[in-house]
Symmetry: C2
Subunit: 432 residues, 2 copies
């Protein structure tokens, strides 16, 4: 079965927005075991739309069309489809009635532009949109079913999940049961990972896929018609082969995993950030419920802040510099008890310092020198990393945040906080 996608809209074609709908759909289809064979992106000109509908409908079995169903003058998908098929646009009274009551319930006036959204090519099947005013529709033309969806991402996703995917499955003769297991990894490149995994033997029905979420790399184990036991064994084999690089299962980010573990543990956290400058806190606060464990975060960007807010000693900085194992150890200790005698210390604390670049103010310490410490119990475990100095400031800060979160994750789980990653170079390690 050949599946294609047609994306419409000048703003997509001219790069005014990045087409995340397209990537999202490709990924969702892949995870359900379907392959996309082509994606065509065109602007808003009627003749271009008519051409592409006529052309692609000769090659594909199912075409998802995205965009052009709104109320404005440049929303032309229904009209172009009608023109391609040489039929009229006719009012779908089910949808126009729905629009009338939707607008009435909100005390809004239903304009002619809105009513336009209920006009579909003759013979089209209306597809419900429970979250917006643009209904979708499906038409059979030449070899293909063309399935029209709105461009607004949350409306599009809702319609794909609840209606398009079941539609695709209903057209498939030999349905397969596809389940995808995902491992989030850190510190191993795609070619190194492929080398380790592809020399192993994998059970029939299990294939591997990779997805990059910088600085993470996700490994997918795509199982087609396999038993639970086969899935579990394959997952175990992947975890064994990748070692410390595996940082979470079925999570898109390490922050999500740390959030889950901290909430479940009932423990508390403090953060002290110099190099990462608020990135660690920000990634955790992104999740609802983070106030349950995150007590305080301190962006100690100047040395005075390190000394007064975190109680780092002046001597430590003078002797070792602010980018030192000693300094982050004191930062982590200071963060945990930053609220003073009257409040309990936090159970965990994490601290970062380093040279993010692009230039280093130090002769002896190159850009990419990063120190990270994690406090748990009475201990602070710290390490110094030498990240590639030719990477961007943003990359160095994101990778440092990821390693800090991983040290924290490992400490929460009772593992040694310092892990071995394939491409992240550690130059020192010390416990205080």
């Amino acid at each position: 079965m050949k599946i294609e996608m047609i994306c419409t809209g000048e703003e997509v074609l001219a790069g005014q927005i990045v087409d995340t709908n397209a990537a999202w759909l490709g990924n969702v289809l892949m995870e359900q075991g379907f392959e996309t064979s082509r994606r065509t992106t065109v602007g808003d000109r009627v003749e271009d739309l008519v051409d592409v509908f006529k052309e692609r409908s000769q090659y594909a079995d199912i075409i998802l069309v995205n965009g052009g169903l709104g109320p404005t003058a440049d929303d032309l998908s229904a009209m172009a489809m009608a023109q391609a098929m040489d039929v009229e646009l006719v009012e779908n009274t089910q949808w126009s009635d729905h629009l009338k009551s939707w607008f009435a319930a909100r005390n809004k006036i239903l304009t002619a532009s809105n009513l336009k959204q209920a006009f579909l090519p003759q013979g089209a099947l209306m597809v419900d949109n429970p979250v917006g005013t643009a209904c979708g529709f499906a038409v059979k033309f030449n070899r293909a079913w063309l399935y029209f969806t709105p461009g607004v991402p949350h409306e599009f996703k809702e319609m794909v999940r609840n209606q398009f995917l079941p539609f695709v499955k209903s057209k498939q003769l030999n349905g397969q049961n596809v389940i995808v297991d995902k491992l989030l990894t850190l510190g191993m490149g795609e070619s190194a990972m492929a080398e380790r995994l592809e020399c192993l033997s994998w059970p029939e029905g299990v294939t591997l896929g990779y997805r990059s979420y910088m600085p993470y790399l996700e490994l997918k184990l795509i199982g087609r018609d396999v038993t639970e036991q086969v899935r579990a064994d394959a997952l175990q084999q992947a975890c064994d082969a990748l070692g410390d690089s595996v940082v979470a299962q079925h999570q898109e980010t390490l922050a999500a995993e740390v959030h889950r573990l901290l909430l479940a543990s009932g423990k508390t956290l403090a953060v002290a950030e110099s190099l990462t400058g608020g990135m660690i806190s920000n990634q955790l606060v992104a999740f609802a419920g983070s106030s349950g464990y995150l007590k305080q975060g301190i962006v100690s960007y100047c040395n005075a802040a390190k000394m007064t807010l975190l109680n780092v000693s002046e001597q430590t900085i003078a002797d070792n510099s602010e980018v030192s194992l000693e300094c982050v150890a004191q930062m982590a200790q200071g963060a945990a008890k930053a609220l003073g005698e009257n409040f309990a210390q936090t159970d965990f604390a994490v601290a970062t310092s380093g040279m993010a670049g692009p230039a280093s103010p130090s002769d002896t310490m190159p850009v990419g020198t990063v120190v990270i410490g994690v406090k748990f119990g009475d201990q602070v475990v710290c390490q110094t990393l030498a990240l590639s100095s030719d990477r961007s400031r943003q990359y160095i800060r994101e990778l440092s945040t990821a390693v800090a979160l991983d040290m924290l994750r490992r400490a929460i789980l009772g593992l040694a906080p310092v892990a071995n990653y394939e491409y992240i170079k550690r130059v020192a390690e010390q416990s205080f």
Copy 2:
């Protein structure tokens, strides 16, 4: 002149990576006055590549092909192009010599896979890649010039800027001088902005474009063969029409503008974040040199942190709650002098608190209630916003960060910190 783009790679088609190269190219071409008429995305199968080269070369004048020039087995663009044209792949000795010395200089072994990158379709023009091992190439086939570029983003962008754009311009008969002026705006929707701007009269040669960088919207004034005076007048007319919504010129983010202003002013900053949880600090620390003004940031996520680190009074929280004008005023004051008597107060401070959702713990305060304060001189100006409660936690936090940065920007410039935005609802305002 018809320009198209062909994107190749299973990982792009299946959504394993989002195709930012495509959006970037569309935008760069648009800013140079060129329109893209179609984009086709295909996987790595040779027959699909051959088909798409044969097909699109009949309709376009110039086709940029992206991806498939690497050393691995699934890099098939050159082979597919040769097959489409029915010619051989031949060694380009200029590039193979370059590869030999490149590998020798790095003490690396030149493998057969790497050498493959020097084999181009017979008759192709080699295109230099100064930053990678994959050279590009251009061939004339049917109506079109097909211009092949590597998928690695920084190699791709380098080649487009320095070689593809001059190539496109050389093929254009009536060259135009295109200059784009960009205004970054906040708090006005695209349709409201279009309504305000499109009823004005614009000089010949000036057209408008929009680009969304959530929560910002960029307005582009695209000038074709216009004088400096016409450009300046058009820019002024846009600024007058959009009022407070314009927050920067020629900057992609408001953080970049605040960074620039703070560096230029020589003034210092402290940040106290509850709702935004480190996002403000993180956006500023993203820029090299931020240590010049950012002294300390405090993520006071629990009330104890607000009281001990920022000196917010217990009574203020008891009387007004932690999401109150009074609380953020004290947070901003406390942030400015967080380092105590021995250190100077910072010149500016900004503080946030609010309900990010998805659920509100309060009966009286809905999700989307946000308070922000900015301190300058002896004054703290604060406002309460009522953001849409049906937007995501992430959106509420990003929009709050944007408004906080804009209040800070206005204070640095000596403007009243509280601005009027079209879609951001203010419910209270107070100075302390």
